[in-house]
């Protein structure tokens, strides 16, 4: 299978969807000649022109807000925010408008728009350019929140996000833009609202996405012979597919949830509570949660590494649940 970087896979997704549907257009800061945050819109301006590839001034309120109107009136905007934290600079648009207007209209109004916003840390981006937002945006009923973990995911999920009739917040991890992976030549899409079992295993379920997924794979490799690790990638965080996670725990009886979002009121606790409420009796060990502590994410690589869960940390957590026997 051919390999692509995540940025190239996203670019292919945009290209294919723009060719397929004339109502799809891209707008945002630097999506034109600059080619987007990480190269994901490279070449689209030359191919589709200024009408459908629109550089904007620095106005996140306008980028997100206009997309809502354009979507209601018959277009399918794909708009970019430089970083996921810009979800807060366009906060009213996300919290009170994009997520709410279709619902309060009683379903009469639809907003098929996609907001692409690179998230996550590990790049010494500092406290305002390193956050992952899929926990708090997941609280906003009415927006589909999707993360991208591999080039394969990024292409298939972005295509589905564009075709979906709901507003979708699409969050690739900025550290993964240049990472290569297998992407088939033939056209495909991946389902929204469904988790996927990325790696089969019988001893412990690790739930992880984006960079944490890749670290979970490293941890699983390191523990080969010691623990047979199953890895579930939620892909969509709102609405989250807990059925797939519960089914995995049904098999393994042990659960570690790793996510690059804050632990407090977080995705990790939500997943654990869903599993506990539905299959507490199946658990053979207390579940473990791993996430960002109650601190901003700092600049210095040494401090940042303390904030963001490492492979070693995931190995330790898996060992903790493995210390409990099912017998």
């Amino acid at each position: 299978m051919p390999t692509r970087t995540m940025a190239a896979a996203m670019r292919d997704a945009l290209d294919e969807e723009m060719a397929r549907d004339e109502t799809v257009y891209v707008a945002g800061e630097d999506v034109g000649e600059h080619g987007g945050t990480g190269g994901e819109t490279a070449g689209l301006l030359e191919k589709y022109g200024e009408e459908r590839v629109r550089d904007t001034p620095i106005l996140e309120i306008g980028i997100a807000g206009h997309a809502l109107g354009a979507a209601v009136a018959g277009l399918r905007p794909v708009v970019e925010l430089w970083f996921a934290e810009a979800a807060a600079t366009a906060g009213d648009e996300l919290v009170n408008q994009i997520s709410k207007q279709p619902y309060v209209s009683g379903g009469r109004l639809r907003a098929p728009l996609t907001i692409v916003a690179p998230s996550g840390g590990g790049v010494s981006g500092g406290a305002a350019h390193s956050q992952s937002v899929h926990a708090w945006t997941g609280h906003l009923s009415g927006i589909v929140v999707v993360t991208a973990t591999t080039p394969y995911d990024a292409k298939g999920l972005l295509k589905s996000a564009i075709r979906d009739d709901n507003p979708v917040l699409f969050l690739p991890h900025k550290k993964l833009f240049d990472r290569e992976g297998d992407v088939p030549d033939e056209e495909y899409t991946l389902p929204l609202g469904e988790a996927t079992v990325e790696r089969d295993g019988g001893d412990v379920t690790v739930v992880a996405t984006q960079v944490m997924y890749h670290r979970a794979v490293e941890a699983a490799d390191e523990l080969a012979g010691e623990a047979d690790v199953e890895i579930v990638n939620p892909r969509t965080f709102a609405p989250i597919d807990t059925d797939t996670i519960v089914a995995s725990v049904e098999k393994t009886g042990r659960l570690v949830v790793v996510d690059e979002t804050p632990l407090r009121y977080g995705t990790q606790g939500h997943v654990v509570s869903e599993v506990a409420e539905r299959r507490f009796e199946r658990l053979v060990a207390p579940p473990r949660t791993v996430g960002v502590p109650d601190t901003p994410i700092p600049y210095s690589p040494v401090l940042e590494a303390e904030a963001i869960p490492s492979t070693d940390r995931i190995v330790d957590e898996i060992r903790q649940v493995m210390a409990h026997s099912s017998v």
């Binding site: 009408e51 807000g65 648009e93």
Partner: protein
């Protein structure tokens, strides 16, 4: 800006009578809302539009059915009626009933009907200006020839979202008209605290067309809005039109108005009542007599009473409806779809 495309609309025109009939209807609608709220029948906290009828009727008359209307500001419900939504569906929505325009999910702050190209309101003040720009972009890209009118109050003009939208409208040369309904009060804060001499001046730094008119004169408001709409339709770009008027009602049902002088309110509400102003002009000119006006009022009252009756008798939503319309389901690809 005083030079009119079609010359000024006068009391001699059919338009003047049409505007008065509509304003009388809007006034009757909100009088019923006020009365039914006092009687405890309407939940929430209504924001009455007394004083805004001239501007609302003027927008309704100045745009075509295919044009879009986006609601901003706090004076909302007579905008819904002026757009042409039925008084039944608007009143039922205000009552929170299943037969309301949005099945009771929206209420008076969120009435919308995209079938009528009526976007509605997000209800955070000054917020729908950017969606309005996006709707205008869609008209431009889809080459519909339609225009978007978006209202905002004097209070909303201080929001960054308002100014961002003006930048976007100018950057993309969008067919949109922002109508600032300056009713002098942002709840308790006077318009006098705002820096510009005229609130339409906010459009000047980005090069938009700007005009300020006396919004208590519905004919002047109509002319200004119509000209801006037709200019936008002809590719002449976006405008900011300020209608200076007066909020004759409290901000909401829970406002004791301690911040404004009652004598001043009485004076401004008398001089600035757009319904009385146009009625008097039509009576004085002899275009209408007292019996004509009474017939208009009777017709409007009967329509509104019927809407109240419809809303009262309508069913409440099923509590299970809470879960409908959060998402269009299934999501793309979900469950093999």
């Amino acid at each position: 800006m005083s030079e009119r495309a079609e010359g000024p609309t006068t009391v001699e025109s059919e338009r003047a009578i049409q505007l008065l009939r509509e304003m009388v209807r809007l006034r009757a609608f909100d009088e019923a809302v006020a009365e039914r709220f006092e009687a405890g029948e309407i939940p929430g906290n209504p924001h009455l539009c007394f004083g805004h009828e001239g501007s609302h009727a003027a927008i309704g008359a100045a745009i075509r059915d295919e044009d879009w209307w986006v609601v901003g500001g706090a004076r909302q419900d007579t905008q819904f009626v002026a757009r042409g939504l039925t008084t039944n569906e608007v009143m039922a929505e205000i009552y929170g009933k299943a037969t309301g325009s949005n099945g009771g999910r929206g209420g008076p702050m969120h009435v919308s009907n995209v079938d009528e190209n009526f976007y509605g309101h997000a209800a955070t003040i000054g917020s729908p200006q950017n969606p309005a720009a996006g709707i205008a972009l869609a008209q431009q890209m889809l080459d519909t020839g339609n225009v978007v009118v978006c209202t905002v109050g004097d209070g909303g003009t201080s929001r960054g979202s308002f100014h961002t939208a003006l930048v976007l409208a100018a950057t993309w040369d969008l067919p949109v008209v922002y109508v600032v309904e300056n009713n002098q009060w942002a709840i308790s804060v006077s318009r006098d605290v705002l820096p510009p001499e005229q609130l339409s001046d906010y459009g000047k730094p980005v090069g938009l067309h700007t005009e300020t008119v006396d919004g208590t004169d519905p004919l002047a408001a109509y002319d200004a809005i119509r000209d801006a709409v037709e200019r936008a339709r002809d590719g002449g770009g976006a405008s900011v039109v300020e209608c200076e008027l007066y909020r004759m009602a409290p901000h909401s049902g829970r406002d004791d108005e301690r911040y404004r002088d009652p004598a001043e309110k009485r004076r401004a509400s008398t001089e600035g009542d757009p319904v009385s102003n146009l009625k008097r002009a039509l009576l004085e000119s002899g275009r209408l007599d007292q019996a004509d006006v009474e017939a208009m009022v009777d017709e409007a009252t009967a329509e509104v009473e019927s809407a109240v009756e419809f809303a009262r008798e309508s069913d409440w939503p099923d509590p299970e409806d809470l879960y409908e319309h959060v998402f269009v389901e299934p999501l793309y690809g979900q469950g093999g779809n």
